[in-house]
Amino acid sequence: MGGYERGNFNSRLILMGHSYARGPSANWEGLHSLTEASFTAPRVSREDLEKRLLSGSRAERGTETAIHLLLLGATVISIATTLGIVFVLVNESFRFFQDVSIIEFLTGTVWTPRFQPSLFGVLPLVAGTVLVATIAILVAAPVGLFTAIFLSEYAPDRFRRIVKPMLEILAGIPTVVYGYFALTFVTPLLQQYIFPDMIIFNALSAGLVMGVMIIPIVSSLTEDAMLAVPRSLREAAYALGATRFEVATRVVTPAALSGIVAAIILGLSRAIGETMLVTIAAGATPRLTIDPRESIQTMTAYIVQVGFGETPQGTTIYYTIFAVALLLFVMTLAMNILGQWVVRRWRQAY
């Protein structure tokens, strides 16, 4: 701490002690009398002394309780948020399910809420979401894993110190920017060199760009897991004559496996919930397909499409977005819980 800070700190301590400032001087007599008391008859009763010591802090205890409640109140907001999300999604979905059966919603293969006949089978949206997320994780899992291995096992310290923040920038770029990049850079590139007849809005370029977007999530969680592997394991493997590659792939990677799996699951969950990138670049065509060159629609993109249309409250279409969001919420929550469970269940304790 700097000198100024220390001075400040002292003055604060002094300020803070103002209620005690009269304490010791006032009690000095009492203390004095207490020492005398051991020689002569007690002039101050124990109760009296305690009362005197505590009287100054009664107001303080009031403040303490008030502050405690205030802080607790702030914490309750987080709980209320979760309850609010669950309540809103379940409540509004319930109204949707009064018009459309849950079975039809979950098993139907045609999603045409805005046309006649209105069909509410969510599977095309789920398929679109899974398709893009799969492409993304096929990019991010190997690239993120290899990046983590390179950074934790090979790279010199200086290289890591420069590269890690640059990778973190990737995670901080707004997703509308990735949407622009996929639409105006990656798609034309793919059309020019690989799939000449691919249409502008497609799952492939959205998935590829999303994969790059989640590389830092996968790589930094993986690297954390690898750095937690104790040095002694590496040293032991080297002592047995293993090469660096063997240490990295047969000792460190298996030891960090739970962290790696969790990183991939969390990356996948992020990919499923990602919204703007797929809304901009993947299209608005709910379609049950596994062909990545086609235009699709994800669950999130559907919610945006209806949301920004300022759909009037109370119509069936308005309630569809809550039903879709509920399904999305359940999917991502399940993956997050699974990720946490993997870490807890499979973590090697060293």
Binding site: G2, T82, F329
Partner: protein, 302 residues
Amino acid sequence: MEPTTSDDVRSVSAEQFHSSLRGRRLIGNAAVVLFFLSTLVGLATLAALIIDILIDGLPWIDWDFLSTYPSRRPADAGLRSALFGTLWVGGLTALFTFPIGTATAIYLEEYAPRNKLTQLIEVNISNLAGVPSIVYGLLGLAVFVFLLGMGRVIIAGALTLTLLVLPLLIVAGREAIRAVPDSYRQGSLALGATRWQTVRHVILPSALPGILTGTILAMSRAIGEAAPLLAISGLVFVTFTPGHPFERFTVLPIQIFNWVSRPQLDWQHVTAAAIIILLLVLLSMNSIAILLRDRFQRRSEE
């Protein structure tokens, strides 16, 4: 590694060992190249993205672009309402998030009893951080816009984003508070200070830079978000400067989204130019966060 019996070891001659070692080293070297190239994938994409956007958008940026309202013609389109909207929403979000997030962090680190309920709160917060942002948008739409009757206005957007970024700040705040040495607490308590006096005069001053860094990072997350605000504000055409929190609004990411899918080439330039402005805003905020963190680290090393 496969367990090796002593018989296997004996059966390998020196020559066999060395030839296999050459192979193992070859694989190792090939793998290093692969690992290194993988590291470059992220960096190369980042570079391509930035260069692409600069080429598309840089020539388009001038004072008029910043100071005029959106228009139906690309040549006249400007960012004024989006910039003010972002300022309003970002500022209010920070204003709401900072006290709530700090209070929660303090409660969890300094007050909460170690029991099942506290554990539940902690699990809850880490799960909230994983909820897709669009879901927060629907929460805000149902609660702030309709239930509380605020309408599609700035304050509804800011409150929604507050809930969205709160987990980020709570985590950052807890880390900052945990980094305050226990001896500070003990020293303060030994002097007779109460728990709150200790928090207020000892822990907060030394955790503040970390909390502020967290606030700025949370704010930069909020400023880049489009999805939840789209649910709140809609794709509205705003041609005025919002003067109070109960007006309609648009923000930079929504304006970008609005422009990005228009097919004419000129709109692509307008979009890229707006993205440059958005990235500049985020970059300057992150620089402040990094400066704060550096100052913080240097001080705690002294």
